[in-house]
Symmetry: D2
Subunit: 337 residues, 4 copies
Amino acid sequence: MLIFCRKDLSGAERKAILEEARRAGFLAQEVGSHRISLFGEGDVSPLLAMPGVERVAPRPEKAGLAEREEGAAPRTSPVTAGGISVGEGFVVIAGPCAVEGRSRLLELAHAVKEAGADLLRGGAYKPRTSPYSFRGLGREGLEMLAQAREETGLPVVTEALETRDVALVAEFTDVLQIGTRNMMSYPLLTEAGRCGKPVLLKRGMCATLTEWLWAAEYLLVEGAPGVILCERGIRTFSSSLRNTLDLSAVPAMQERTDLPVIVDPSHGTGWAPMVPAMARAAAAAGAHGVMLEIHDDPDRALSDGKQAVLPVDLEGLVRTVREIAALVRVADETREA
Amino acid sequence: MLIFCRKDLSGAERKAILEEARRAGFLAQEVGSHRISLFGEGDVSPLLAMPGVERVAPRPEKAGLAEREEGAAPRTSPVTAGGISVGEGFVVIAGPCAVEGRSRLLELAHAVKEAGADLLRGGAYKPRTSPYSFRGLGREGLEMLAQAREETGLPVVTEALETRDVALVAEFTDVLQIGTRNMMSYPLLTEAGRCGKPVLLKRGMCATLTEWLWAAEYLLVEGAPGVILCERGIRTFSSSLRNTLDLSAVPAMQERTDLPVIVDPSHGTGWAPMVPAMARAAAAAGAHGVMLEIHDDPDRALSDGKQAVLPVDLEGLVRTVREIAALVRVADETREA
Amino acid sequence: MLIFCRKDLSGAERKAILEEARRAGFLAQEVGSHRISLFGEGDVSPLLAMPGVERVAPRPEKAGLAEREEGAAPRTSPVTAGGISVGEGFVVIAGPCAVEGRSRLLELAHAVKEAGADLLRGGAYKPRTSPYSFRGLGREGLEMLAQAREETGLPVVTEALETRDVALVAEFTDVLQIGTRNMMSYPLLTEAGRCGKPVLLKRGMCATLTEWLWAAEYLLVEGAPGVILCERGIRTFSSSLRNTLDLSAVPAMQERTDLPVIVDPSHGTGWAPMVPAMARAAAAAGAHGVMLEIHDDPDRALSDGKQAVLPVDLEGLVRTVREIAALVRVADETREA
Amino acid sequence: MLIFCRKDLSGAERKAILEEARRAGFLAQEVGSHRISLFGEGDVSPLLAMPGVERVAPRPEKAGLAEREEGAAPRTSPVTAGGISVGEGFVVIAGPCAVEGRSRLLELAHAVKEAGADLLRGGAYKPRTSPYSFRGLGREGLEMLAQAREETGLPVVTEALETRDVALVAEFTDVLQIGTRNMMSYPLLTEAGRCGKPVLLKRGMCATLTEWLWAAEYLLVEGAPGVILCERGIRTFSSSLRNTLDLSAVPAMQERTDLPVIVDPSHGTGWAPMVPAMARAAAAAGAHGVMLEIHDDPDRALSDGKQAVLPVDLEGLVRTVREIAALVRVADETREA
């Protein structure tokens, strides 16, 4: 069973409910700030009468905060970050894979701004297959991102890799990113959901759509002020590219959720010559935006240079994807009218 | 080793070469009309001097007829069928999954024509998971397709399932289709390559890009007058849709081959509400066309009704995908200029 | 609907039923020798009264000939071939991937015999990714296999690739093999099911267990005197070996079918050093047998040399897998007792 | 480049090396206690002369601590935990998926002991797809595990989900488990490698063998006193079972590493009736052990009941897998002799 409490539940009320639940024979587990899961068998009737308790229902079999209610009309829940609204119009997030140093980051940030993109990405904490690879500049990198935001006005998206870093990253970023390798790191999701910033949640590289929605539920049940979903390619038998970008996840998720869905064609393909085609395809598939990696010297990039677009090519790409997005919007409005 | 013979090799010359090859200790195997593979070890020098022999080279490690030569500039090889050129502009192939009867087919064919599509599809021989499912009308279905072509002027694409049917299907169709389940049925490819009609070769549902190119090689080495590649979704862990449409195969193949590449979002998703988004995405990814399934009564369709778009929705969809394709072409030309 | 007719249905009766079905508004399609599928809507009552008709039922949603009936106790249906019963005890099938020549085949066949294996395998028709690769000796290869059987007494398993070859292959072989690339080539299955010989049906490299059972249904509905299922590895993201051998398919299929299930660790791994471990594992998983590729000169094998075990290592391997199979059988009997 | 320092590097020496590296123009990053990765370009010669520096070499392209050296003879590195040596003989780890309460755990622990297993498993921190599911008893669960160890003498294996829990879990457990969802949570690996306890590292559900070895490298470079690898099933298109148990990973990993490799057929299949067959197969494939989930009331288990074997069936299963393991060992010794 799941106890739904009042949002303004006091500490004393919570304690009393937990005690009563245990007395009634349940294992009780807090979920977010005002829900309590019950396991085992017992009598819920005394709980129903307690102050702070709104209702008791079976534990949900679908991710009710993340999934649209059965039969409800689609209505995207926009996510606001630094003045940008993700989910209305078409957003472009761009920047280097990793923050490698101050001057390079600032230059790339200005290129991102000039190309007409909306947000700046860049990793200060990087998950790397080999421990000997560059793992990011950490706090120093976060400070560089803050400076880039100040100079360009672009809100920032950057990743946290573990619970201990969430508060620090949240202090510096506009949107906190959870990467594909951590989509099932549930304590990290819990911490991220509590940090006060919206979260960009990448799909796990072998996660089903349902598991992805449940991961968003972890964030939302903790009170995340917004969740942006990001398809970034899945693992399949097909090894000609780094990943298989599952663009059908865009319309398929939009059938199930109001959370905005964007696409990362850089990781999704792992190879720069593929990025423009797949960025366009993402816009055509109805995505709410794309996230693109750029680098001015891809061969020497400290991470994922193979998939980085040159800054000089960004502007044209941004223009084309926006044109496609606009065309799709008009077509949809015509169809619905 | 591989012996390249003259294209006008006579029967007597071929026989002499084969005999000489065997005398020299090789296992010799004809490949197409004027190539001979040699296995084992022996002396090739006597072969080089024989009439009809052009050269002897190591057996190829890549599909040299299907793949673009290293370093060569991309230049699509258009495939002409019934006056339509696939590979120039953007083609739309549409029609029912299976030919179910004369009047229904004719109605759907007219709807395809009116919606502005270029070719008519429809299966007379259907590969079905269950032997109890509808396997198609066979020759009768082919005759209906021929009538539909006569009435609408639309060239026809239809599938052959086994070597014994190839000649008959080729007699009625403009483009012979090889389905995903048969991409590795090599005797069927050999027969299809010889039938005199261009071939639409669907990607095997678990075929790598390299295997797909080799399958095209089977067709081309037999003299197929044209090959159209068709991405139709692959098998992955992701089971929310029938298949995972691998749109990155479009630009990835275009990096390797000049054969036109089209996309089948109907099988690729298996679910009609997903088809428009993925058809648009295919156009944006740079595909040379799409193949769409339609049905006027999807719930009662004898095959794959779940993925069929209504005829009434086809026109708008065709218009939008063509607009996107045009926009992408302009963007590419601008970039190259 | 599906009409079940009497097994001794006469031609005239069949014709009358088909005509009546069409008159009633159905599309009628023969399935095997005495079943007729009906599509569309109509009145079945006149059909019920016709001579030769036993009953009419909804078209089956599961492969009723291949799958065990709900609730029935497992009881393997042994397949007899050349005096060997597959499904009782543990069988070992061994031999070269391809028949490359007479003397080599005979030597290998004797090695197979001496190692204690039960059946001889060897391909006369080989499906190859590249058209330039060795595709087998065809009829000549079949004759060599027949000689090997005569000399050693070992029954033979060999593959047919297309409908046109089935009769010829069936004439020479004891068990007709359908390979992984053709598991969904339904006309081939239909022909194989009619050829009078038992069929060894390899699992398609991306086939689900349900699709595999339906493929067996195609064989059984045509009257195949026996079907042996053979797991041979599937396509997954994991590319360190040629395939991922899905040994869990053995117990999972045994939960659903009485057909014997064997394992091919040679194709399943594609690498000789892995074969002994996986052959043993197959026996321990409860398989009814294994199929092993051997070659005396793997580096020069015309096909799949990398996965061939040396003849000298075969005997020890056969002994160990039999010991494991025996141990498992005793454990199972103890548990059930 | 990678600087290999002396193992007894002092803090002052480390600081000096890092400063000198930065002065030379490198980005410097500590890896474990006595290695420093350098990024960018610069002159390494001044570094070579510094106290504490042993050598400077290119950053490794393979996981040198986890992988066996090219050409070296296989020699398993046994992992000792609570008196049990994993990697010598065949170990059985068994216990409930989650610790659900004191009395149940103690009962199950005694059953594990009586069945002849070697270690006790049980989760106090559980990663769950839904936030509303039971996530474990936390510290309380760890204390119950400690009591179970005291009563039965069985060493304990239990999982940590995030960096903040590692120290606490390490205090209570004999072997620290990293689960499949966290195999790529690199900060967690780093923390686990430093905790002083051996680590059981499950394969990520979509991790390649190479990525798995790199994850082990993260542990080893931090000084982990031992690493046990555990195959637990991968994600594939095949959905008849929860996962596809990749048993070929056992011999394939043993070709590359001396770390012991065990198998978890409970998660690997997700269904109790499949567990005995796959546990036996794991032993036959040469695994160093198996990890099995048991529960006395699977239908009411708070986690993964579907895959739990009954305690009453454990003893027979343990006996059979040990017999198979012994038989395989004898066969291997015979072959090598």
